[in-house]
Amino acid sequence: MDFGLKISRVSAPVLFLTAALLPGAGSGSGISGEVDAKGLARRIAQEKGRVVLVNFWATWCAPCRDEFPDLSRLQRKYESRGLRVLGVSTDLGSQMPAVEKLLADLKPSFPNYRKTTGGDDGQFIDAVDPSWGGELPFSVLYARDGKKARVLSGQHTFQQYEREILKLLK
């Protein structure tokens, strides 16, 4: 987990995309690119007008793996109404083969990124949300105007995610 940039607690998270990251990169197997704090914020901003669910996960986190099918289902069910799910792996760089294997096996319907290696982990965590301590899974919901609307720490059911998403899709 590269938790890198110091972000004001009152400002939106600022994350950065590497050049390798394609805007709006697709779903399916494979990592779409690496992000740090600035890049992730920019990626979220690209989805303005949509409701965005950013889900932080890791291969070693069993509840994260359990959630994946539900997140894929949510993306498929609500894509036409304006939902965009974005996954962010927080695995160590050395775990990339496991990350790629998991994505190949689960074939998520949403794009996945990887947090860049190194940097200030505490600052990245703060940038995502000051209430976050790095525990996984961790999700952040953004409203259509790009503003953070809700954080969900820990494993949640399809129905719990759906309830929160529907409040924002209205």
């Binding site: 987990m1 070693w60 160590l92 982990d121 505490g122 301590g133 790095g134 525990e135 820990g154």
Partner: protein
């Protein structure tokens, strides 16, 4: 009406005290006393350790958490280096999912030389309101918390650490100076409570 109002005031006061109690120790405040049995059968008392050392480093750690494991070598090396200078390290495993046998095997695998103990029913983690692994509290000989938070800011690349917060705190204590950054945000896996 008055009795209702009195009840509400009392209920509010109780709720507030509950919140304060649940918040854990503050930097500069008293570290909650605890006594645990180490995985090799010895008794570890925080009060005794604090009285006999220049500081006690209380570390909530884990065997399976990648964040905590990323710091295994750093914890081992710091403990060895600072114990020569009068600071004792103590590792506490509060995870209900990680039994003592696993803690012993993990310590052996990583060459830990510091005391290790299980925290049955995560009572000590609750006393400290510790949430993550790794999460550190440094206690001085007066039993006061002098540092709380992370080991450093970069768990993945030890060679590129720019803010060695725990080391800085220990060096300040050994030099008799105030700890400049006495509170940092601990990050890691959640402690798996009962």
């Amino acid at each position: 009406m008055r009795s209702v109002r009195t009840f509400l005031v009392l209920a509010g006061a109780l709720a507030l005290s509950g919140t304060l109690l649940a918040a854990g120790p503050q930097v500069g405040g008293a570290a909650p006393a605890f006594t645990l049995t180490t995985v090799d059968g010895k008794t570890f008392s925080l009060a005794d350790a604090a009285r006999t050392h220049k500081a006690v480093v209380v570390m909530f750690i884990a065997t399976k958490c990648p964040y905590s494991n990323a710091y295994n070598d750093r914890m081992r090396d710091m403990a060895a280096a600072y114990e020569k200078r009068g600071i004792v390290f103590a590792g506490i495993n509060s995870n209900k999912t990680e039994p003592a046998e696993e803690v012993i095997a993990h310590a052996k695998q990583h060459g830990f030389g510091f005391s290790l103990m299980k925290d049955p029913d995560n009572k000590v983690a609750d006393l400290y309101d510790a949430r993550h692994t790794p999460e550190i509290f440094v206690v001085d000989p007066d039993g006061k918390v002098r540092y709380h938070g992370r080991i450093d800011e970069n768990y993945e690349e030890p060679a590129k650490v720019a803010s060695p917060d725990l080391k800085n705190a220990l060096d300040a204590l050994l030099a008799g100076k105030p700890v400049a950054k006495a509170e940092t945000k601990a990050f890691g896996c959640s402690i798996k409570r009962v």
